[in-house]
Each structure stands twice: as structure tokens, then as C-alpha cells.
Amino acid sequence: MKLPIAHAVRRAPGPRRPAAQALAVLLAIASSLAASAHAAEHLDGLEDPNHFVQRDGESIYHAICQGCHMPDGKGAQGAGHYPALAENPRVGAAPYILHNVIHGRYGMPAFGSALDDEQVAAVVSYVRSHFGNHFDKVSAAEAKSERASTD
């Protein structure tokens, strides 16, 4: 099979630019494909499926925390348990709660990469002021400083 490569070059060397553009497009595709491999692995399609969109503490609690700690904050008991956040004096220790939300604890996943400092502060403040807890709000600055602490 004779292909028109040499012929094309003889007749029309062609401007470099379109080819360069074509190459750039191909490279862009290649790098997108590499970037998408991880997303595809998780079989989801959102731009950032690992970041939560909720901003206020109550919404974040309902979107994440109540999956385990339950809507009433009372936790649950099975083969293991989820600790109650309701009327829990440990919730008073702000660094402890911030640490757990940001870095995780045992089987509890870390949410530090899924929530920004404002979101972390909002949800921790919500828990500290609901479910029978009466503790001060925490600030995004406190969340930021806890984020920097090692795991």
C-alpha cells in the first residue's frame, strides 16, 4: 500500500502551524486521558466529585455527617459503632473535632480534601452548637491551623 507521505511533502510542505496545533491538541487529549483515568476508576462524571458544594454547617451535616452519626446526632450501634455527637463533652475539644474532620480517625475518612477551611469550621461549629452541645463556634483560621498539623 502506497501512502501519500512523501508526495504530500514534495507538493506542499505546508505551514508548520496547523501541524503544531494538531500536535498540541493530541497532547492535550493524551493528558486529559491520563487525568481522567482516576475519575473513571471511580465511575463518576462530575468535575470534582470529591468536593462538597454545601456551605453552611447544617447543610454539610445533612450531606455528610448524618450518614454515620445520624440525623439526631446520636450515633449508631452495630458490629461496631458510630459515636454520638449529641451531648458529647468531647465535642467541646475543638482541636480534637477539627482534627477528626480534617484528618479522619480510625475507620472515619478524612474530609480535609473534600471541604475547605470555611466548610470545616461551619460544620464543626454546627455540631458544637446543636444536639444538646453548647460550645463556641470555631473559625476558618482554626481549621486552617489544624489542617497544617500532622496526622
Partner: protein, 543 residues
């Protein structure tokens, strides 16, 4: 090794004859090993059915957990000659190898109870649902125990790829997206070749070969263009397909433009089935994923005590003592004594149990967060995806939170009802769905899925939704190791600590897969067996 080898009888034999002889003499596993040695099959850590020779019959091994890891440990250890007992929290065996059928009840953490309303023969697998052809351990149990398998339709060219932000939200057929993506890439690369931009990378001869390959791969025309015509229609489908007699003349369909295809991001779903874990052939047990675990369970049923919640795992120089209470209701703590313990309890649970092990293993047990995942099964009055849309099995992908819709890879064309996997979520969306009440998960899956299949509105009957963080015996889906944590803790997790060894998908490099549980279990009990056989003398453990 050359094609012909000399047998010990001096005759020359072909490779096929040699393999047949090996197979006859030593069974499939040996043949498999021989095949690997001949470079004919992919190597696997699975070396065939375990041969734990010289077991000490006076030694009792307590297995905690009756999922794939625990059941296979019990099965192999008893076959070897050990005394075995198994405890499990659940009221059924199988663990995450779980199938939900009509009439099954499931009460999640928080107390919400679902009763499955599926018709007879219909099911969903809330956990694992497919077995790749290279998961030798799982496939071998299916084979040894006579569990029939059927192909899982991983790729279906007539399934949909869907984006809420592209093509007006109209689902596109997988096959057309793939044809157009390949075709446009091929055309573009063909231009690069023809403009002699690859002279440094390839010889002229290889550039000609590449152009030839691009034409074939991308379904290009004679001018190396990807345009509407017979070559592209044979890939993406026809606007008017060829018929018979005096039926209308075939008309090729029109490829979509490349820029729109790129910005749609639909191409990302084409790569899923190319991952090693998802490559065809890939299987499911006939009747539900639990069938393999149930087959192993039948072999060891007399050893398994269900409804037993482990609360303490103690060990001393002389043995292991495990305390447990009834999983439901009140009852005094009871104790089970053994010489050794194989613990397959998920780390999400084990990290909350009082267990006497050295600090390195203790740290490892506490180092692994558990991933979120949610599945929703939906029953419809008829199999509209087959009847209306010619989708027989396979998966449609979407950028909506439900992630996908998967069609049953079984009973094609049956006139009755059908159950779809209506959502399979990971990441942030999985947390959000877990946090919903079960009926809200089903309702949300319906609302989103109806944008792909409007038939949902009229045909829906009932659904089941499992969020893995609400599953009372796992507190999550699987061990989500980070590379950093694995480097630091994995070997400590897997090493034998005194008389205790851990096993399960969390103690494998194939997290979330049943094969990981099986290989972990086989490795753990092999090392434990060696230690036991070596006798009372202290044995230095090398993980």
C-alpha cells in the same frame, strides 16, 4: 523454552501434549503453573488450591468473620486437618458477598428497615458484582464447588454515555461516541503524519504503516478523513441501516464534531472497560454474587456460628480467647478458646474492638479509613431497555450523581419484570446518598435516571438502596488505603502477631475485590500453617 521438549521417555512432545500430560497427572493448578512457566498465561499470585500439608490435628483455629476471607480460610484449614470454628456478627454468611432478593429484609444503622419487593429471580448485588477472568482464586472456588458463571456485560456499544451539559442532555450511544472519538483522533494524527511532523520519531516506512493503521482504527475514508460514509457508519451505526429486498437504501449516520465531543467529556467513560480489572471476559455467578460465598459456606456450615458479636480478642503464650455477645438482644458474654485466630473483621469494626496485639499491628488496624459507596436497585414492570432501546446488559454512564445505570446481564429478552442497578456512587455523592433515608435514595435515583430513560416514570415499581456506611457489620465499603499509610502500616497489618493473623480485602493489594480477600486469606493461613507446623519453638515471622 522451545516448542518441543524432550520428555523423560525420550520422545519429543509438543507443548500442548506436555500440558495435557501435566494436567492429567497433577490437576489444573499444576497445569496452570506449567502454562505460566511456558509464558502462555498471565502470572498470578494464586498458585492453585492450597496444599497445607502436615497440619496438626490437635490445633484449633478460630476464624472471625464469615465473608469470602473467613469462609475460604475455614474451608482450607479444615481440609488441611485443623479444628476450625467461625464466628460472625451477621445473621447470614457471606459478608459483603451479598445478594438482595425479593422478600429479603435489611435494617440499616439508624433503624430504617427495607423489605425487598423484587419478583422471584430478580436481585441486586449491593457489594461486589463482577469477577474478572484473572481473579483466579474466586474463579477456582466457583469451579471447584460447581457454581455456574455467566458473562457480565461490561461493555455494551448500545448503552448510553450521558452528560447533563452536552448534546442538550440527550444520551449518546457508547458505540457512536467511541467511533467518533477514535475517528477524529485518527484523522488528526494522520494529518500530523502527512505533514512530516513525526520524522524524528518514526521512519518513513513506519509512518506509512501508522497511517494505514490510523485509517483502519479510526474508520477513515481514502483521503484519511473521518466523515459520514460507509467506513464510519460501519462503526457508529447507520441513519438508515442496510435491509433486504426493496427496503430503503442505507444512509450513513453523521459523526458528531470533534470539538463538541471533547468538551462533552463523554470520552472519559470509554476508558473504564480498558482497565485491567474490567477487561472482558468478566463474569458473574448465575443467580447473584453471593452464590460463590454460599457454596463455600455449604462446605463449612457446621463450623459457622452466626449472630455472634465479637467484643474482645485476647491472646497469651498458650492460646487465644475471643469474647462475644449475641448480635441482637441481650445475653451474657461468652468465650471461645482456640490455639490460633484468623481475624477477617473489617478494620472499621476491628479498630473499635479490644484486641491484644503489639503496637505496630494496633497502629495498622487504626490506619485505614473506609470508603463510601452506595448502590440502588430498581424494579420495573418491563425490560424497556431491551424492548425499546436494544440495550442487553452493560452499563450507561452519566455525569449525574447516580454515576451509572447497569442493565442485568442475564435473562435477556424475558417478558417479565426487570431490576436495574439504578445508581452506583463513590466520593462526595456517596456520602450524600448515604445520609439520605433509603426511600429518598431510591427517589433521587429515579429522578436522575429518568433523564436517561423516561420510561422510569411509568414503569417503576420498587427499589432497594444500600449505603455502605449504614451497613451494621462493615461501617463502610472497603479499606481505602493511601499510598503513604500502606508504606507505613501494610506489612505490620499482614504480619502474624503471636497467635493472631488478619485477612480480608483490607489486607490485600486488591482492595474492595473479593479476590483480594481470597488471596489475603490464602497467604495468611499459609504463613500461619507454617508457623504451627514449625512447632512450639518461637518462629521469627517474616511477612
Amino acid at each position: 523454552m522451545s516448542e518441543k521438549s524432550r520428555s523423560k521417555y525420550g520422545r519429543s512432545v509438543t507443548r500442548r501434549q506436555l500440558l495435557a500430560m501435566v494436567g492429567k497427572a497433577a490437576g489444573g493448578a499444576a497445569m496452570y503453573q506449567a502454562m505460566s512457566a511456558l509464558g502462555m498465561s498471565t502470572p498470578s499470585p494464586y498458585a492453585g488450591p492450597l496444599k497445607l500439608e502436615g497440619a496438626r490435628r490437635d490445633q484449633k483455629i478460630l476464624v472471625l468473620g464469615a465473608g469470602m476471607a473467613g469462609l475460604s480460610a475455614a474451608f482450607e484449614l479444615r481440609n488441611a486437618g485443623y479444628q476450625v470454628k467461625v464466628l460472625d456478627y451477621n445473621s447470614r454468611a457471606g459478608g459483603r458477598s451479598w445478594t438482595i432478593r425479593g422478600g429479603d429484609e435489611f435494617t440499616e444503622l439508624g433503624g430504617r428497615k427495607q423489605v425487598c419487593g423484587f419478583d422471584q429471580g430478580l436481585y441486586i448485588n449491593p457489594g461486589p458484582w463482577r469477577i474478572p477472568h484473572h481473579h483466579y482464586g474466586m474463579l477456582d472456588y466457583a469451579k471447584r464447588l460447581g457454581v455456574p458463571l455467566e458473562p457480565f456485560m461490561m461493555v455494551n456499544y448500545s448503552s448510553y454515555l450521558h452528560s447533563t451539559k452536552a448534546y442538550g442532555g440527550k444520551p449518546q450511544r457508547y458505540g457512536a461516541v467511541q467511533a467518533d472519538f477514535h475517528g477524529h483522533v485518527a484523522e488528526l494524527l494522520g494529518k500530523v503524519v502527512q505533514q512530516r511532523r513525526l520524522d524524528e520519531a518514526l521512519t518513513t516506512e513506519d509512518q506509512e504503516r501508522l497511517l494505514e493503521a490510523l485509517k483502519a482504527w479510526g474508520a477513515l475514508d481514502n483521503q484519511y478523513r473521518y466523515v459520514a460514509g460507509k467506513p464510519s457508519a460501519e462503526r457508529r451505526g447507520w441513519a438508515v441501516p442496510p435491509g433486504g429486498g426493496l427496503m430503503p437504501a442505507p444512509q450513513p449516520s453523521e459523526p458528531v464534531a470533534f470539538d463538541g465531543l471533547l468538551s462533552s467529556h463523554l470520552w472519559r467513560y470509554l476508558m473504564v472497560s480498558q482497565e485491567y480489572s474490567f477487561q472482558t471476559a468478566i463474569f458473574q455467578p448465575v443467580g447473584g454474587m453471593d452464590q460463590i460465598a454460599m457454596a463455600v459456606y455449604r462446605e463449612v456450615k457446621d463450623l459457622v456460628q452466626l449472630n455472634s458479636k465479637v467484643v474482645k480478642i485476647d491472646q497469651s503464650e498458650s492460646g487465644v480467647t475471643v469474647s462475644y455477645v449475641p448480635s441482637h438482644g441481650d445475653g451474657p458474654a461468652q468465650q471461645e478458646q482456640a490455639d490460633w485466630c484468623v481475624c477477617t473483621i473489617p478494620l472499621s469494626i476491628l479498630s473499635q474492638i479490644d484486641i491484644r496485639v503489639q503496637q505496630p499491628m494496633q497502629d495498622a488496624i487504626r490506619a485505614v479509613p473506609y470508603a463510601a459507596a452506595v448502590k440502588v436497585g430498581l424494579q420495573f414492570r418491563r425490560r424497556f431497555w431491551e424492548q425499546d432501546e436494544q440495550i442487553y446488559g452493560g452499563i450507561s454512564f452519566t455525569d449525574m450523581p447516580i454515576g451509572m445505570v447497569s442493565y442485568p446481564s442475564t435473562s435477556y429478552g424475558s417478558p417479565g419484570k426487570g431490576v436495574l442497578l439504578g445508581a452506583y456512587l463513590f466520593g462526595a455523592h456517596a456520602y450524600e446518598f448515604t445520609a439520605m433515608a433509603p426511600e429518598d435514595r431510591v427517589r433521587t435515583a429515579l429522578e436522575q435516571g429518568a433523564r436517561i430513560h423516561p420510561q422510569y416514570h411509568d414503569e417503576f415499581e420498587n427499589g432497594m438502596a444500600v449505603g455502605w456506611h449504614r451497613v451494621p457489620w462493615t461501617n463502610g465499603c472497603y479499606g481505602a488505603w493511601s499510598e503513604e499509610r500502606r508504606d507505613k502500616h501494610y506489612r505490620n497489618l499482614c504480619a502474624i502477631d503471636g497467635r493472631i493473623v488478619l485477612a480480608g480485602e483490607h489486607a490485600s493489594l486488591i482492595p474492595a475485590w473479593q479476590e483480594g480477600a481470597v488471596l489475603s486469606s490464602h497467604d495468611a493461613i499459609t504463613r500461619l500453617h507454617r508457623k504451627i507446623v514449625a512447632g512450639a519453638a518461637p518462629v521469627k515471622e517474616t511477612a
